[in-house]
């Protein structure tokens, strides 16, 4: 049974200091739903003064929050998780309408993962402790952690809620205040999530400021009261943010995308069993989230001996992908996030054809009879070679580039022949092969006989040009806090130098 589109309020505001605040410019922009191409609501177009207000609200909240106990922070994070879970369906539907992804995914992945992320950080901070060393009989060294202050977080439009949770939960768990700028393509779902949690969140601890990134992005990243910038997006703005971070000598962490190899060894077809079925799904996961995933398994490397029968089975599975109504839980793939993104993907499909790649399925826009003005593309597979642009550039759409290999060495060489190193997958029944590839692939995440799992307790981040720093896992806490060393001498004796 499909969900119906709710009537959202005509206009949202920025969330600053625990209040809903109109932008000082008085200007708003339309938020278009990719599902039907219609205006969902209007969103503030903020300017530098709005950014200043949000940072000031964060500073004020931090003055108290920096002294909060671990119990207080943990309880608050659990309360946030509960409040989101209580409105899970509403938030999932809002995410579908804002981003275009199908509700089957927002109900089962996006929002449950958001809830779990807050619970994970609520729990790990209760379990961790500092570090004390007895340097000698009378000298004790203590390593203690202290929060950074107000941090800026700039998030992407492919997982608007999950990327917000990935950044907000560890920042708060470590004792910081947050100023977040959502992507302008997907501003609404996070504002609906803030409505759900505002009662359990101290005022000013999380501030949401909306608008285009050109000017407010710079103003936020260079603000003297901002102590760290976290960014997920493309490479050039990532470089610019690192450059901006030098102004105040603050850290920045960057997650910048990938062109992830998904490698299928011939042993997957030794039997036609559950595992082989799982491997077929493993290839088809390029269509997960309409392909708009930084770890999209967008390059499939298939051992030549099984290419024909394996691809035949995969194509059957892809032909069964329905994409008519993202609001129907039975629907399998949704819309692309914006009309621009749809155009960019079609441009790559054109490049693939011009480069001489063989189009095995799809290769064009999907004409959706129910939503003719939505932004839909058919899941597409090209067969070609790894030097083609469609094998090297992140298309950020449901477009898979497939090639074959003969030997393990050849597979590893192709897998690593990319400027990125974020995700990767290896599928085999041979334990030796699994080990060889999981250590040989240059990427921050290797999925072994699985793909697209994002548990809170596993680190996530890139090698090479995929970025700097890690997200998820408790190690993330250290990228949101200082380490202070307290070195205490209990000796009564002077050093003897003077």
């Amino acid at each position: 049974m499909a969900y119906t589109k709710p009537q959202y309020k005509e206009q949202f505001e920025n969330f600053i200091g625990g209040e809903w605040v109109a932008p000082l410019s008085g200007e708003y922009f339309d938020n278009i739903s990719p599902v039907d191409g219609e205006v969902l609501t209007r969103i503030p177009r903020s300017n530098e003064a709005d950014v200043d207000a949000a940072v000031a609200a964060g500073m004020k909240a931090f003055e108290t929050f920096k002294y909060s106990s671990v119990i207080e922070r943990s309880t608050m994070l659990n309360n946030i998780a509960d409040a989101i879970e209580a409105k899970l369906e509403d938030i999932a539907v809002a995410e579908t309408l804002d981003n275009g992804k199908t509700v089957r995914e927002t109900l089962a992945a996006d929002v449950p993962l958001v809830v779990d992320h807050f619970r994970y950080f609520a729990s790990v901070i209760r379990g961790e402790s500092g570090d004390v060393s007895d340097l000698d009989t009378n000298t004790i060294s203590q390593e203690v952690h202290e929060p950074l202050g107000v941090v800026a977080q700039i998030i992407p439009w492919n997982f608007p809620l999950l990327m917000a949770a990935w950044k907000i939960a560890p920042a708060l768990a470590a004792g910081n205040a947050v100023v977040m700028k959502p992507a302008s393509a997907t501003p609404m779902s996070i504002l609906i999530m803030m409505e759900a949690i505002q009662e359990v969140l101290p005022k000013g601890l999380v501030n949401i400021i909306n608008g285009a990134g050109g000017k407010i992005g710079k103003h936020l990243s260079t603000h003297p009261d901002i102590k760290k910038v976290g960014f997920t997006g493309e490479t050039t703005t990532g470089q610019l943010i690192m450059q901006y971070a030098t102004e105040n000598i603050i850290p920045s962490t960057l997650e910048l995308g990938g062109k992830s190899p998904n490698i299928f060894m011939e042993s997957i077809m030794d039997k036609d069993d559950e595992f082989f079925d799982k491997a077929i799904e493993g290839l088809v996961l390029f269509a997960f989230n309409s392909g708009e995933v930084c770890t999209c398994p967008s390059r499939a490397l298939i051992q030549e001996s099984i290419y024909e029968p394996f691809m035949k089975r995969c194509l059957e599975r892809i032909e069964a992908i329905s994409q008519e109504n993202p609001l129907d839980p039975a629907n399998k793939m949704g819309a692309q996030c914006s009309s621009t993104q749809k155009e960019k993907i079609l441009e790559y499909i054109k490049i693939g054809k011009e480069e001489g790649a063989e189009c095995l399925i799809g290769g064009e826009a999907y004409e959706n009879e129910k939503y003719p003005n939505g932004f839909y593309i058919k899941p597409t597979i090209f067969k070609g070679h790894n030097k083609m642009r469609i094998f090297q550039e992140e298309i950020f759409g449901p477009v898979l580039a497939v090639t074959t290999f003969k030997t393990e060495e050849e597979a590893l060489e192709i897998a690593n022949d990319t400027i990125y190193g974020l995700g990767s997958g290896i599928w085999s029944r041979d334990a030796h092969q699994l080990h060889k590839f999981s250590r040989g692939i240059e990427a921050g995440r290797v999925w072994v006989n699985c793909y697209h799992l994002y548990p809170s307790h596993a680190s996530f981040g890139g090698y090479k040009k995929s970025g700097i720093g890690r997200e998820t896992h408790m190690m993330m806490l250290n990228s949101y806090r200082h380490t202070k060393n307290i070195l205490t001498s209990y000796s009564k004796d002077a050093l003897g130098f003077f």
Partner: protein
């Protein structure tokens, strides 16, 4: 030696002129990666330190256009045209200047013909 690697549509040229009026001198760098990654980024020239090994693909409307040297390896067979799309409703999350005005620059590509490929202007 007359084939250019990068050109610009009239519509994009108009937006570039608007941005020059607001921001002064500009610079383009072709981006890569996540989200808005396949688009060209336009920043104030004084803001972006162009990585010293980046390749200058050309000049459009008096604005230098750069690309990462590794990315250039697979762009070198493509002619690119910088176009613009009006995008009042949804822009990305980059810091590119045109999105403040409700536009987004796009990179459109085609493969050089053999004749063009032998006549490419030299990289400087």
């Amino acid at each position: 030696m007359s084939t250019q690697r990068v050109s610009v549509t009239d519509a994009a040229a108009d937006v570039i002129e608007l941005l020059k009026k607001e921001n002064g001198e500009l610079v383009f760098n072709q981006s890569g990666g996540c989200c808005d990654g396949t688009a060209p980024m336009c920043y104030p020239k004084s803001d972006f330190y162009v990585p010293s090994r980046n390749i200058k693909l050309g000049v459009i409307c008096g604005v230098e256009f750069f690309i990462d040297k590794d990315q250039f390896e697979y762009f070198k067979h493509s002619h690119i045209t910088i176009d613009v799309k009006e995008e009042k409703g949804a822009f990305g999350n980059s810091f590119s200047l045109e999105i403040d005005l409700g536009y987004q620059f796009l990179t459109k590509s085609r493969i050089f013909t053999d004749e063009e490929y032998t006549n490419l202007v030299e990289l400087t």
